[in-house]
Amino acid sequence: MRNEPRNFAYIVVFGTIWGLVEIGLGSLLHALNIPLKGSILTALTAGVALTGRIFAPQRGSLLQMGLIAAFLKIFSFGGSIALPLLGIMEEALILEGTLIVGGITLPAYIAAGGLAVLWTPVHFLFVNGILITGKFHLYYDLLLRMLSGITGLGRERAALLFLLLALFLFLVGALAGVLAWYLGRDVKRSALP
């Protein structure tokens, strides 16, 4: 059998799993209202998408998985749908762009996962602070207050707080990338002998 139907099937299957995680866990995390819920969800979905890229290695497959997940997200419960859709497409673009530059290698997987998760606070500040309300400083203060509350450091050390956040998020994303790299290969060996 040629690769075309296989690419078709893997894009559909991993796009569906991405959508399932977005709908199921996304709604759960939204209801629990835990801090950095967007970053947790992005790490999980980036892991799913990067695992799928091992099975569908053609260029553009991650974008198509993202489109499928975005279409499925339309059917989820909740208030705003347009903003998560924007988030999903941003994530797919970052993952695809990084893998186009770095190829299908472990360092590229680490960078893709790390950058995708690192983007989540930028998305939060951009969408809420610039696109919707135009009051960037309010959301900046909100994020700073949350970081200060979590770490116990004073709000005057904003640079250090944001550096710590960036480092933490990049590590979480990188971990998702590493897991996707090894899990994808392991699943490929087990499922396709």
């Binding site: 078709f8 099937a9 893997y10 799993i17 499922a191």
Partner: protein, 188 residues
């Protein structure tokens, strides 16, 4: 023609709303509302929806009070409420003016082949995967007894192996139904 101009106006407005300063906002808001009213009156229905009214009330009353009260903070809340209203209004117009077949055709042209079929198949697979995840989790919990990180890892691995097998079956079905035949050339 009217729908296409609505689409263009919606895109322009969505990009311009964030960059309008407080000084010119009242004039911009009025002109934008008039244009939206001429283009798509139905889009104004969201003004009566409860989430919008709650958000509006939040921007107008608790937010200025939380920020310390006063005329300045009230005007800032009003400005934010106005921006939110315009953003939601033009987003509604944008979504109304997009037709799904045209969007699909655009994605196909951009290189996402068979996207319509892929989305349809994904919609059918969604409940199947949700059920597969549930039964896998329950079976593993019955076997291992308690929830541990390793149980979660086994769950993910088992679920992905099942999904890959489903994908292989789907690939065979897609091949039999002609997916990928276009690229075989005239000697197919």
């Amino acid at each position: 023609m009217r729908r296409k101009s609505a689409l263009l106006l919606a895109v322009l407005s969505l990009f311009s709303v964030p960059f309008v300063g407080q000084r010119f906002f009242a004039a911009y808001f009025f002109v934008s509302l008039c244009i939206a009213f001429c283009v798509e009156r139905k889009a104004f229905r969201f003004l009566l929806k409860r989430p919008y009214i709650l958000a509006l009330a939040f921007f107008l009353i608790p937010l200025p009070l939380l920020l310390g009260g006063g005329r300045k903070n009230f005007l800032m809340g009003l400005h934010m409420a106005g921006k939110m209203t315009l953003f939601l209004l033009w987003l509604g117009i944008l979504l109304d003016s997009i037709r799904l077949p045209e969007l699909m055709a655009f994605f196909e042209k951009a290189g996402a082949k068979d996207l319509g079929v892929k989305v349809t198949v994904a919609l059918n697979l969604l409940p199947l995967f949700a059920e597969s995840a549930r039964t896998t989790w329950e079976a593993l919990k019955l076997k291992k007894g308690k929830t541990t990180p390793s149980l979660f890892f086994h769950f993910v691995r088992t679920f992905l192996i099942n999904s890959v097998r489903t994908a292989e079956n789907l690939a065979r079905a897609a091949y039999l139904r002609g997916v990928g035949y276009d690229d075989l050339g005239s000697d197919r």
